[in-house]
Amino acid sequence: MKYEQADIPGKEARELVAVGPAAIEGLGVTRNPWEKLRRFTDARIAQGRSGVSTPTRALLEFQLAHAEAIDAVHVPLDIDSLQQRLSELTHEVGRVNALRLRSQAIDRMTYLQRPDLGRVLDEESRQRLVSSRVNPQSAVDLALVIVDGLSSRAVQDNAAPFIECLCSRLNNGDHEPFSLAGLSMVEQGRVAIGDSIGELINARCVLVMIGERPGLSSPDSLGLYLTWAPRHGLRDSRRNCISNVRPAGLSYDEAAERAVYLLRQARKLNTSGVALKDRRQSPVVSADKAAQNFLVK
């Protein structure tokens, strides 16, 4: 078997592996005659086998995917380039530079082992945030907080286009508008840090955009967490979550639609979390019918 050298990591390497040698029989690899089932799932089915082991091609594909996921965790967020993308947004929220904040986790190793530190702003950031308030007495409706979380790539790629979609839907139509606080960006942060930020700038609601724990097939999942009446120390049960926002997952538009729905409901109910459910209609199918599949007709 022969693979060409991959000069550039990432997509290009993936393509090189994917084209691989077409004829691998006769080299010890047994192909599975059920490869057509791949249309039904992204799971790594019908990989074939070398004896009973994983064939080289599947092994290399796996390792590349794992490498992408690890890099998503460990490559730091490029704040400057994200700021650049935000400033290109059509909505005015991108025009003022985002406030750059840090948690108390001083580096990635600390961050990974001490989730408690990732939930708290470091002192300098706290002061900068407090002094950034133009008029501390008057509340603002919504604070948007970008947090690197466990995937810098998710934030790097998806935060700006999602904000674009969100802002275009947010103050659309006859609904009461939401006033927006300036953006903030947090390094080495966990979800709950958004609540402290919202509290400090006197926001009625905070929406955190954070890199989710990367999966092998989804190193770029952005998670959205909404808290109404945010304050330090709230539990998970007070937040609503929208997960898997990325091009190959939940689209920016659909995510923005859900977020706006939740924001309006939160304002109506004056709370968020378990008391706030997404009650938009979904089609009901009986369990018998729904269980049908190609294996059993």
């Binding site: 089932l37 799932t41 082992q113 097939s217 989804s218 898997n244 369990a287 190609f294 294996l295």
Partner: protein
């Protein structure tokens, strides 16, 4: 106890870890001198405060304990390793051992000790097949899909069956967690199991109260699932108590769906869950984990699965810590009489990779682990973590000379999935029973 535990990030996070290696070694020496009886007189979480403590005390078998009642923790290690502790003796003594005794002796044992003693413990359970017999290694086929797409699930199921996976259970973690969806998935799996006459059982890993509702709605429930922890407060955070489990178990038993046995519970555990729920009572995470086995033991489960690397690096930082914890859990569970399996796994933010998993899988195979997971290409596209693949299970079976559960193995050979030769050799063709279904699908993708 906590100071004597082998170092890991979760105990550091909890602030209960030894301050230095010397302090740890000294703590282990002190622990070795402690009589086993001390664990009966002094509960780590008071009897009055915690129903798991009450369960441990109230169900303790003093007669079984009498064989080891004269031992210190250090003596206990020697005794477990000795030729006195045969498989039969360990079975007899098991109900006299409390989780704290198991956790304590575990802290004095090296990895090879954990393997050697676990290997001597025999725990066999049954529902539609027999799991845990010597020379056997079973697998949970885990055909998860991010949207519970029925054809997506069926595709992973077929892939797994054709790789000889699924004798422990076919178990789905639902992406959408409600009763309706659970019932749909139960029917899907039941249709396949009954339709193809596969001697195995199914389980939807949904909350115990959902499964109870599904049973009431007439759904085909084989096994009742629940994640469990070692303190009452942990289980409270999971939304159940011991009465809930008892109720669910008798509901499942009333369905009478097991053909050769009536172990109807499937539990999952994992070090760190108590701390994560703020419910660890300042105990170390390995001790909390062992206490979860007291909960499991009460309900005669078919399977207990320690999901060792799923929780993340703040509890088990790297491959080394995950491997140690996997061996500890398997040992403690087996010693307490449980049908232990292990989700040999890691997340992408832990310092671990496939090589670490190969090591743990091989060690657990040697230790006589009852079952592991099986998933296409190690990649769970719903839960976003990596566990053992169908290929991995075949590797372990091959290098260690292990076979699936006997009833399932017979089915694999009759269905021409395994060749009719000794060992695990796969056929190269689609077996007749699945050919029609596959052929009816067009080739275009």
């Amino acid at each position: 106890m906590a100071k004597a535990s082998v170092a890991r990030s979760g105990d550091r996070l909890a602030g209960v870890i030894a301050d230095s290696s010397q302090e740890r070694a000294a703590a282990q020496m002190v622990l070795a001198e402690l009589p086993l009886r001390a664990f009966l007189n002094e509960m780590l979480i008071p009897y009055e405060e915690d129903e798991v403590s009450r369960l441990i005390v109230d169900t303790h078998d003093a007669k079984a304990f009498s064989a080891i009642s004269h031992l210190t923790v250090g003596d206990f290690r020697d005794w477990l390793l000795s030729d006195l502790a045969t498989s039969d003796v360990l079975t007899q003594v098991s109900t006299g051992i409390t989780p704290e005794m198991a956790a304590a002796v575990c802290k004095l044992m090296r990895n090879q000790d954990l393997i050697l003693v676990a290997k001597k413990c025999k725990v066999v359970t049954a529902f539609r097949n027999t799991i845990g017999l010597p020379g056997r290694l079973s697998t949970r086929l885990q055909p998860n899909h991010p949207t519970d797409d029925r054809n997506g699930i069926a595709a992973s199921m077929l892939d797994g069956l054709l790789y000889g996976s699924g004798d422990a259970v076919i178990g789905i973690n639902p992406a959408t967690d409600n009763v309706e969806q659970a019932i749909m998935l139960m029917r899907l799996m039941d249709d396949v199991i009954q339709g193809y006459g596969i001697p195995t059982q199914s389980c939807v890993l949904t909350h115990v109260t959902n499964t109870l509702e599904a049973i009431e709605a007439g759904a085909p429930v084989d096994l009742v699932f629940q994640s469990i922890g070692g303190t009452e407060a942990t289980n409270q955070s999971f939304g159940f108590n011991l009465d809930t489990l008892a109720e669910a178990r008798s509901a499942a038993l009333s369905l009478n769906r097991g053909s050769i046995g009536n172990n109807v519970m499937y539990f999952e555990t994992g070090q760190g869950s108590s701390l994560s729920a703020g419910a660890n009572h300042d105990l170390d995470q390995q001790t909390c984990e062992a206490r979860a086995y007291a909960v499991a033991r009460r309900f005669s489960p078919l399977l207990v699965n320690t999901v060792v690397g799923f929780i993340g690096p703040e509890y088990l930082f790297n491959g080394r810590e995950i491997i140690r914890a996997g061996l500890e859990d398997h040992f403690c569970g087996k010693l307490l009489g449980l049908p232990m399996g292990c989700d040999v796994c890691y997340t992408n933010h832990a310092e671990a990779d496939q090589n670490d998993m190969d090591n743990l899988l091989t060690l657990l195979g040697v230790a006589g682990c009852n079952f592991i997971m099986g998933i296409p290409g190690s990649d769970d596209i719903m839960l976003n973590y990596q566990t053992t693949s169908f290929h991995d299970a075949l590797y372990a079976r091959r290098v260690l000379g292990l076979n699936p559960a006997p009833e399932f193995e017979r089915w694999l050979r009759e269905a021409n999935i395994f060749m009719d030769v000794p060992g695990t050799v796969l056929e190269n063709h689609v077996p007749d029973i699945f050919r029609q279904q596959l052929n009816s699908l067009s080739e275009a993708s």
